[in-house]
Symmetry: C2
Subunit: 260 residues, 2 copies
């Protein structure tokens, strides 16, 4: 069973990819919605919450952990790895590895929340991996609340996206990292706005591909013997009116969230 | 000294009114930005945070407390009153009292965050106070992030507001309660959208007027002897790039926020 720990429901985009790419593995997702948003918490609190949440996943059978939240990944990954004796994956490095690999002209754009962009965690990782890359960043703080409201295809969302991407587009990146797990929900809008020649790197897909490669060489982490044994559980610590609606939009099917 | 306890910076609209209406009193404002948003926290956590924050204000000289956050007001007012032996005011009841007083046709609209609207705290208070009133509510969850980003006069904000107020306007309220301390920043936009005949009730103004009436009959709470003794302190538990910008927009002057 693969555990996904998240601070919101954005990490459901990772669950969606895992359902597709790793269909023989059960998933246990925990969205710590009640203690949102991690990007305004102090680091010690984020570490504390992350350990508690990972403990919940391990107690309920998870054998692998995916950290599906950028704030948690950047602050708590090492502590989680030291605390739990199972494989722990995070979304930042597989994403950056893919971006530097596919970039032809070494011009990489990055969009994310204000906290992710200010932390420079993606841009530093890009420069460590390929120092000659030019990096262009843009914080897009309204996109998460827009997705959380389910305003995926609304005109207002398109206009706000246009405003956010205007300057970035002028920098002519050839690759754009979606450094927030909510943004895959806006991928088509982002692609049409930034231009179809720009390669979008979806952090949710990249981390799942990374886990898939790992599992090929980890025979001890046996998948279910048949699909009837596969069970997915989606747990959240809180619910608002729109949570299930948005969750089903992300997973592209009706979904019942369980309250932790 | 008047202490204002807030979960965000929306309550600065209360501080702005207090600076105007009670110029002879010092203010100590605490915005618990780092632990936002209270409306997704469980009640026990909100009570705990509120007691901690009020203790900070009292320790630093506050003789009166204004609870500048709807979630805190609805959940923690009684506990704060029991814990601290000083006058404690909240924004809900003065606002509702004003609304039911000025409504001519007993048709009252209420806009607020999803948490405030779902709690029915304003609508119940209206009905308790004037049972014959018809109440029309609308949650406007994107307005707070828009104000927090400083997008006060942007076209996108106008469009979103238009969408939110469309159905409400058709209900023809004669009075509209702004049941969120962020919304006074959008008062002009809201007024022009809902129609100039509708009386807007600004919770930030109403609570300060209420405190002013109280102070007239409370000689033990002496104001400063002269204005040179008046000192305002604005303290927050966290800062993002836009926090000071938005704070100065709200207070209509440059402001330095102190980190707690």
């Amino acid at each position: 069973m693969i555990g996904i720990v998240d601070s919101s429901i954005g990490g459901l985009t990772i669950a969606r990819e895992a359902e597709q790419l790793l269909p023989e593995h059960s998933l246990l997702y925990l969205g710590d919605i009640a203690r949102l948003p991690y990007d305004r918490q102090d680091p010690a609190t984020i570490v504390k919450y992350s350990i508690e949440n990972t403990q919940f996943l391990v107690d309920n059978g998870a054998k692998i952990i995916i950290i599906g939240c950028n704030s948690t990944a950047s602050i708590a990954t090492e502590t989680i790895r030291q605390t739990f004796d199972i494989p722990v994956f995070e979304i930042i490095h597989p994403t950056v590895q893919k971006a530097v690999k596919v970039s032809h002209h070494e011009r990489i754009g990055i969009i994310g929340t204000r906290a992710t962009i200010s932390s420079n965690i993606y841009s530093n990782a890009v420069k460590n991996s390929r120092p000659e890359c030019k990096v262009f960043q843009k914080a897009c703080p309204l996109l998460v609340p827009l997705v959380d409201e389910g305003w995926i295809a609304k005109k207002e969302t398109k206009m706000i996206l246009k405003k956010y991407l205007y300057g970035l587009k002028n920098q002519q990146p050839d690759t754009l990292i979606l450094a927030c797990t909510h943004y895959p929900m806006l991928k088509q809008l982002i692609q049409s706005r930034i231009g179809k020649k720009v390669t979008l790197i979806d952090s949710s897909i990249e981390v799942v591909k990374h886990v898939k490669r790992y599992l090929k060489n980890a025979p001890e982490l046996l998948p279910a013997e048949n699909f009837s044994q596969v069970k997915h559980r989606y747990v959240v610590t809180g619910l608002t009116e729109t949570t299930e609606y948005v969750a089903s939009q992300i997973l592209k099917r009706p979904i019942q969230l369980q309250l932790a």
